[in-house]
Amino acid sequence: MTISHRARQRISLGISYLIIFIMILYVLFPVVWTFVSSLNQGDSLYSSDMSFIPKDPTWRHYRRLFTETNFGLWYKNTLKVAVATSVTTVILVTFTAYAFSRLQFYGRKTGLIAMLVLQMFPGIMNMVAMYVLLNLFGLLDTHLGLIIVYAGGAIPYNTWLMKGYMDGISRSLEEAAIIDGASKWTIMWRIIFPLILPMVSVIAIFSFVSPFGDFLFARLVLTTPTNWTLSVGLHDFVSARFGQRYTQFAAGSLLAALPITVLYLSLQGLLIGGLTRGSVKG
């Protein structure tokens, strides 16, 4: 009995390792392959030599990204938009969530439900109206316009995330502060804000990342190639006729993904914590 039990355990452990091994292959395969492609001599998808050890690896495509294309400029634009989006979103969301979580005012409940429903409207359908609106304010082809679109669109969802987090914080500290005569402003900045910092950083990171992943709105708003963000530029590479700039795309996409990937992997504990708390509580 004990032997068969031990054998069974060993088999199940073996199967576990096998599954893990397959999963690691599945996960790493595209990343490794893209890296290998980026080292190829040729330019296009078709000329790549289809082996995992390139015959004659070269870093030429990485160098050419910065010397022959606007890649460096796109990188700078994306970082600029990302930082501004992140800061704007955090400020707006903190204010809005604080009001909904802690203050009593007319229209509170209606406002909450309205925000919940509003964020369910398929965002893609907002594109036509956004275009007209940005045109109206003269913000087409500007980074400010794109930042406003990203930050404005992210408010309803993130407000719910943040409100859920704030609701979980005890009110006793605030009550003590009120007795001590603290103003609402002081309570918000001195007491609540330090306590919600974990969620603030989660929202900051998520909204920092969104400009790296969005292509549709960036392409809609930004028309001049020197104004583009990374995603628009990369899409331009990959959609070149007959995949003639595929190696360039491979090199560029790895460089673009690098900072985000490092950020996520190093902060995974924080992000997972924020997600589980936020989503379980709404």
């Binding site: 452990l13 599954i19 893990i20 996960v27 595209p30 990343v31 893209t34 998808l45 289809m50 400020i91 969301v93 204010f95 809005t96 009001a99 203050l103 009593q104 005012f105 509170r108 406002g111 919940l116 429903v117 509003l118 369910m120 409207f121 398929p122 893609i124 359908m125 907002n126 036509v128 109206a129 956004m130 007209v132 609106l133 109206l136 404005g152 669109g153 408010i155 309803p156 609701d167 609402k184 992943g213 990369l234 899409h235 995949g243 795309f249 491979a250 996409s253 993904a257 985000i260 990937t261 950020l263 996520y264 992997l265 995974q268 997972i272 997600l275 589980t276 989503s279 509580k281 709404g282």
Partner: protein, 435 residues
């Protein structure tokens, strides 16, 4: 200098007089109540803000109804957006007016009851106190109105106009057509058929993509929860990788790899396994298979992380009790782990279903909703889901009216589904308890 007129007359109809005065002109009642500064401010507000803006508001509201009269001069789309903005502004001004009347009434009431008239310092601090929520809400709400509410209202309106390739401003004036788009869309045989097929695949896609990611996520999370596995942290970090790479980039990577003639996937299949190349991006079945596989790659880390979080939060004493009772490992899983995880994960699965229902990125970036299928309307392809079809209707077929009508249908489906879900999750119940 500040004197209370009503108090002096000794009358007790003060509150009604003040309210009436404020109804006639903003601030009049406040002045009658003796609040000079506030009254003057309100009078200035009505004189220099409210009255001058009335003709402008009326003009734009009228434009919302007519959508313009002369082509090339009136641009219906702009008139529509101005009209919506005017409606929002009008509501705001009306609320201001009503607050002004109520303020005059309440202050009059306080004075009638023999209370002291409030000085301007007191008023200001009161206003800051009562206005604080609105003050900190204002920037957020303004953004929501402009960038969430306004586009949505605009879209819903487009669904009731004849805006398409042949009726596009400024060359043509748009007309309100009532429910005609919906009726045409759902009763014209070819459109209805396309809608049915796309809808069917959308549901299949949403179900399969959600189930596969959660199933795989759960299997991996359970395996990695076993303390006998070594290097669990490192493995977990590697497996989170797809979540950490921007989806936009990884989908395009996969697109290159799945290329039928030159992609590495077919290359491996033909050289290593001696198989025929698979038409990943040309055949309906294989494209559908490919989008689900790519989505699985993208999506399983998220559910893995969620389920890991839930597993780590499970109470230990249940397992101890089960061990004492002599339960086997499988029994522990079947009767403790599985039900508890399902209980916490169910709302997430439902939300993820709603998300996948509109998961535009994978479908659009991997293969643009293609391959083309004979007989489908509005450029719908074999892997198109509703939302990517809406995109094509808008930007490729230029049938804005149908696209808007369909996005309204999608919206109502998702809202109904989500409200049902949200009313059952904890957050909402807590919200109820706080009231």
């Amino acid at each position: 200098m500040q004197r209370n007129l009503i108090e002096n007359t000794g009358s007790n109809i003060g509150r009604y007089t003040s309210a009436l005065l404020s109804t006639l002109y903003m601030g009049a009642g406040q002045i009658a109540n003796g609040q000079w500064l506030k009254g003057i401010f309100l009078i200035l507000f009505e004189t220099f803000v409210l009255i001058p803006s009335v003709p402008l508001l009326l003009k734009n509201l009228k434009g919302l109804i007519t959508l313009g009269e002369t082509p090339m001069v009136d641009h219906s789309l702009f008139m529509m957006i101005y009209g919506i903005l005017a409606a929002v502004a009008a509501i705001f001004l009306i609320v201001c007016y009503l607050v002004n009347i109520r303020d005059a009434y309440e202050h009059g009431l306080a004075i009638d009851k023999g209370g002291k008239r409030k000085g301007w310092k007191e008023t200001l601090s009161d206003m800051i106190d009562a206005g604080f929520p609105y003050l900190i809400l204002a920037p957020g709400i303004l953004c929501i109105i402009l960038f969430t509410f306004l586009p949505m209202a605009f879209n819903i309106m487009i669904a009731f106009t004849d805006y398409d390739l042949f009726h596009s401003p400024p060359r043509h004036i748009l007309n309100w057509v009532g429910f005609r788009n919906f009726v045409e869309f759902l009763t014209t045989a070819s459109w209805a058929n396309t809608f049915k097929q796309v809808m069917l695949w959308t549901v299949v896609w949403a179900v399969l993509s959600t189930l596969t990611t959660y199933l795989l996520g759960m299997i991996i999370a359970l395996i990695l929860n076993n303390p006998r596995i070594k290097f669990r942290k490192v493995i977990r970090t590697i497996l989170i990788l797809p979540y950490a790479i921007p989806a936009f980039i990884s989908i395009l990577m996969w697109k290159g790899m799945l290329n039928t003639n030159f992609g590495i996937v077919n290359h491996l299949l033909t050289t290593t396994f001696n198989m025929q190349p698979i038409p990943w991006l040309e055949n309906v079945f294989w494209t559908r298979f490919a989008v689900i596989m790519v989505n699985l790659w993208l999506g399983f880390p998220y559910s893995m992380m969620m389920i890991t979080g839930i597993l780590q939060g499970l109470p230990n004493d249940l397992y101890e009790a089960a061990t004492v009772d002599g339960a086997s490992g499988f029994q522990k899983f079947r009767y403790i782990t599985f039900p508890l995880v399902m209980f916490s994960v169910a709302p997430l699965v439902i939300m993820s279903f709603a998300y996948n229902f509109n998961n535009f990125n994978v479908i659009f970036l991997l293969n643009d909703g293609l391959p083309a299928v004979f007989g489908l309307q509005g450029k719908a392809g074999g892997s198109d889901i509703l939302i990517s079809w809406v995109y094509k209707l808008t930007f490729q077929s230029l049938k804005f009216n149908y696209a808007a009508a369909m996005s309204l249908i999608i919206f109502l489906l998702i809202v109904g589904f989500s409200i049902y879900n949200y009313t059952r999750t904890r957050s909402f119940k807590e919200e109820e308890m706080l009231r």
